[in-house]
């Protein structure tokens, strides 16, 4: 994936002048367009649970679970949310489902951790690890890119 760095861009602007500038601008625009489409595909994050889980889930329930406000599924069984370590799926989930930036989510948890009011969800690294953890635990809930869904877990699309 291409990433654009506006600061690097500014420095380049100062260093390279004349004909180089046009070329650079074209590159920046292409990079911006690529980043735009790339970020749209990231929005395709799905929530996954154990295949035996028959509870109903909507956006709000998932949000409450991942913010530590809900400790049970609608069918009454305990819930173990599984978070992703700092990556694109996490960013998408934080902004689309939790409605906050990852920094704000961290600030939210810092308030709860240091008052003994809550423990943030365990973090694992990457979609495959989330699938493995959810497949092994009937109480688990996680989120992954839709392309990573396997038959071992049940996926729930979020609106």
């Amino acid at each position: 994936m291409l990433r654009t760095d506006p600061y690097a861009g500014a420095i380049f602007y100062l260093v390279m002048r004349g004909h180089m500038l046009q070329k650079l601008m074209r590159k920046t625009i292409i990079a911006a367009i690529t980043a735009f489409f790339a970020s749209n595909t990231f929005a395709d994050v799905v929530v996954i649970v154990h295949p035996s889980n028959n509870s109903t889930l909507d956006d709000r329930a998932v949000k409450r679970i991942f913010l530590g406000k809900e400790k049970k599924f609608s069918n009454g069984t305990g819930v173990t949310p599984i978070n992703q370590a700092d990556n694109d799926a996490r960013d998408t989930f934080d902004s689309n489902v939790l409605g906050r930036s990852s920094s704000q989510v961290a600030a939210y948890w810092s308030k709860l951790i240091f008052t003994g009011k809550g423990v943030p969800p365990k973090e694992v690294g990457g979609d495959a690890e989330v699938v493995a953890a959810v497949a092994a635990d009937p109480s688990a809930i996680g989120y992954i890119d839709s392309s990573a869904v396997t038959g071992d877990v049940k996926s729930i699309p979020l609106n």
């Binding site: 920094s103 008052t115 003994g116």
Partner: protein
Amino acid sequence: MKKSLTLIALGCATVFSANAEVRINGFANFVGGVTSSDDTVYGYDDNVSFSDESIFAIQVSGDINDKMTATGQVVAKGENDYKTEFEWAYITYEATDNVSVSAGRLRLPLFRYSASKDVGYSYHWVNAPRAVYDVAFNNLEGFRVDYNNYAGDWEYGFQLAAGTINSEIDVPDATGNPVEVDLKANNAVLLTAEATYEWFKIRVVGGRSSVTFRPAVLETTFAQIPDNIADALRIEDDTSEFYGLGIEVDKFDWFVNAEFTEVGIEESFSPTDTAYYVSAGIRTGKFTPSITYESLDGEGEIRFLDLVAALPEPFQAPVGAAVTGTQQAFFDKYTVTTLGLRYDMDTNVALKADISKYDDDLDDTADATLVRFAVNYIF
């Protein structure tokens, strides 16, 4: 109480060694500041200083069983020469999904950010607005019951806290040197109610306690005036009351929050303090610029002049002067305007800078401008 705290700490240590599920978290605020020339405010002066608001803390918590958790937090504050102290040590019992009970030494839920006041990372300021947050009675030795639930789009919660407050306040003695004076509040009870609807939050709080606070410097004065007036002025088992209202609108791209508090001891020399702040900010990417206005009004009516008027004529002038002087010495009235910027460097590091203009309404020579910068870290 110290003994029981040690016991809890030992309890924690035993539990932790026996159980694999131990969580260690910590936070650090590295805060530097400097005032405009010849000014002093919040302990800062016109030389750059890092020791006034810097804090380092480690918290260890562990599950005793399914429903019980032990938590201990050790804090080192720059203003106390980084002497480590057990800020909190308590055990929490989760009675149901909605109710939890904590017992030990814990933070009194006075304000919106009381619980995380020391954790700079949790808010957009360099430090929580002092006009409201700078009170001497932050920690409670006792218990707290938390109830949380939701109905439709509304989330709501109640907190009941009760116990004893043991604290110290620095009071200048006759020669002007600060002396630590014990502040003790017995039978402290505090009730908090909070409701949140997506982007809107409202919070009300009320509490009372029986306070004793006797600076030696005042006793010298009290010895020279009639007993009934000295008793009226003195803070000894006197009822103090605390009220607060907090409102917050957070639309993610921008937010506005405000808190209003009133605290006082009616039957005493201590004036009733009315304080509030209003803060607004916008979030643009990793940056959160904000503006905060805070105000403290602790300039009350002079009390007990009716008692002075009942004295024989020759005593009225000298006793009146002592009564008025004692109360005026504790008057305080100021406003602070702060422009601040937070930058989220990472999901556990924030950089901040702010500039504050402190306006003292009672003493113009105390006006000051303060620039601060901070690094907040959590792990």
